[in-house]
Each structure stands twice: as structure tokens, then as C-alpha cells.
Symmetry: C2
Subunit: 186 residues, 2 copies
Amino acid sequence: MAVDPAPPLATIAAALRRERDRAGISLTELARRAGIAKSTLSQLESGVGNPSVETLWALGVALGVPFSRLVEPPTAAVRVVRAGEGPRIRSEHADFSATLLAAGAPHARRDVYVMELEPGAVRVAEPHTPRSVEHVVVATGRMRLGPESDLVELGPGDYATFPGDTPHRYEALVPGTFAVLVMEHP
Amino acid sequence: MAVDPAPPLATIAAALRRERDRAGISLTELARRAGIAKSTLSQLESGVGNPSVETLWALGVALGVPFSRLVEPPTAAVRVVRAGEGPRIRSEHADFSATLLAAGAPHARRDVYVMELEPGAVRVAEPHTPRSVEHVVVATGRMRLGPESDLVELGPGDYATFPGDTPHRYEALVPGTFAVLVMEHP
DNA sequence: AGCACGCGTTCGTCAAACCGAACAAACCGA
DNA sequence: TCGGTTTGTTCGGTTTGACGAACGCGTGCT
């Protein structure tokens, strides 16, 4: 696994400005809440300077975002991995294989669910936390799911991932459908 | 969702020392690889000082660990949730239910796998990263798994979680067994 | 128009992060 | 036992991040 060789100078600048106007507050206000000088913040958002951990941490708290969102670069609809596809890791001992479906976004919080549905009823989900991501692996049955605009159909072993912060749905196509759902929020 | 109010001064010190001797290199060597003065590193590991992001980043790269492992605090036998057990969230619309199996440890990295096994062969796993945790939901078939000392048997829909940093194993009991595996490392 | 307020940037000062060198202690082979 | 190496810590000097004040600009109120 390669580790980011890229210096995060510009990333931080971008992240700060992005997160700040997402919060809809002024530079002055943010500096005040974080307890740092606005001059410092100004320079940071300009991409000059190399903040101390303490400073950046204070900003993370004031913005209400996990520290790491400020330093890691952002990420990018429905991605599907069909059963048997995807990069496989085979054991030396036969009869075992594992497929990496989604590498952990370093600081996401992931809740693991088992989901059971019957055909007919449609589970419509309101969009939740911004930048949350859903992962689904169908265990048995068939289901149609995804963002309203991009529904996909999955069978046993199929995997799909899509943003959770847009309207989306789950719908079983055959009786006794069950799936594993991982909800990932930043 | 509460955001870490804790200043990460001591955490960084601990993380640095931990990760360094995990890598099995000397302070001097690490400082050299990271391109920083060893005096600086010495002080950081002593818990004095408040490193700049650039400095800490360089250390992360040199250690081969994601940046955030250095700043976020760390986390902590076999827990089983049988199919149909566990806290259930029912939809207003019937025919949908979800069970929370494991709330996300705030800053864990979780990789999602699909695992297929056939009976006979046993998948023995060397212990990996300290404090890593494994989660398994059996989709079809039956399997026996867990730390060598605490094996449990799971059927479809059953869930188990256990530490990944001790020797453990996976073994299919019937043909065509497949499961979803979530590997969580801090 | 005139003034007051909030915005973000720029400038000079100070503390501190970072550096390089010098240091004692532990270790190892001759 | 004694040099040579490597360990990690400590000590001045330099660089630079953070601060507060002053600045220019735009807005809105009287």
C-alpha cells in the first residue's frame, strides 16, 4: 500500500476554505471560534505556511469536522463489483479467496448492518450526513438499489457503493433477500 | 456526533514511539529517513512540542503509516450476534429491517472483503496489526472461525467480531460457504 | 454624503519549532 | 581492556509560525 508522498500544503488550504464556507461562517468568525489569530487563518487559507498540529486541530474542532478531513484529499456515483470480479487475494491453501471491495477511507466511521427486505415495499432513504457513503453486499436474493438516478440490480455476492447524501432506495426483487450494509460517515 | 475536544499532544508522542519500534528502527534512523533533525524527533517522542504538519507528515511517510494514525488515539474476545438477534431498526414500511452489528470506532480504517471458502482447507491467519478487529457476517453456508482459543460456529446471517491481532482461523463447514469480512485497523 | 461596522489582507514583533553539533551511555568486536 | 560505533538526550543559533494592530475595501444605516 503506497503512502501519500504528497505534501499536504495545498490540500489543507483547500480543505479549510471548503469546510469554512460549507459552515457558512466568515474567516474572522472561524478564527475567533478556534481561538487563533485571523491573520494566521488568512495565511493558511492562502496556502502559505505550515500550521502546527495544535492550530490545525483547533480549526478542526471549531469547524466540527474530524481532524483528518483537513489534511487528507477529498474523494469522488454507483460503483459495482460483480460477484467474482474485483482484485482477488488467493490463499496458498486453496479454497479461500478474498476480494477487496473498498479500502477504508482513513477516518470514516463505518456502521455495519444486516438488512432484510421483502419484495413490494421500497425502502426510501432520505439523504443523510454529507459525504456519507453506503456499501452493500447482497447475500441472498436480488435487489435493486442506489441513488434514484442510478439504480443498479444486484445478485448474491454483488457489491455496490454509492453516496449516502443523496436520495436513494432499496428494493427487494425476490423474497428472502438479505444483504450486508455498511454505512460510512466521515 | 461529538468531535474530539482532546488536545493530541500526548497522543502524538505515544503514537510516534509505538509506530517507530513497530517498524523496528532507531530514532536516529527514523529522523534521517524523514529528513528531520533527530533532536526534533527526540523532543516529539518526549511529548514536548507541537510539531508542524510538514514535520509530522514527513514522519508518517517515513514510517509508512497514514498520517492520521499519528494523531488519532488508538482503540481496544469473540462477540457473536445470531441471525435475527441484536437491536433491530424496523421501517415504518414493513418488510425492511436493519440490525446494527458494530458501531464504527471513530477513526478506524475498515476494508470490506467478500470471502469464499470450501470445507477441508483451513485458512489460518497470522496476527496482523495490533488492535485490528475483524467482523464477519456469514451469507451462505456454515463456518467455524475466531481466535484459536475461542472458535465459534456461524450460519447464514450470523455475525461475529474478534481481535485480528491474535492468531485466528476461518474454516468452511459446508460447500459454497461465503461471507462478508470487514477488517478494521486503527 | 458621512459614518460605522464587518470583511479579509498585510506588517512588525515575539515565542517556539527546527536544526546542527556536542554530549554521555550502551553496545560490540578486536 | 580499549577504540569505534550507535543509541538517545541536551544545548545555542537560526528560521518561521502565530499574534495583534493597522490597513483598505465594501455595505448598510442615519
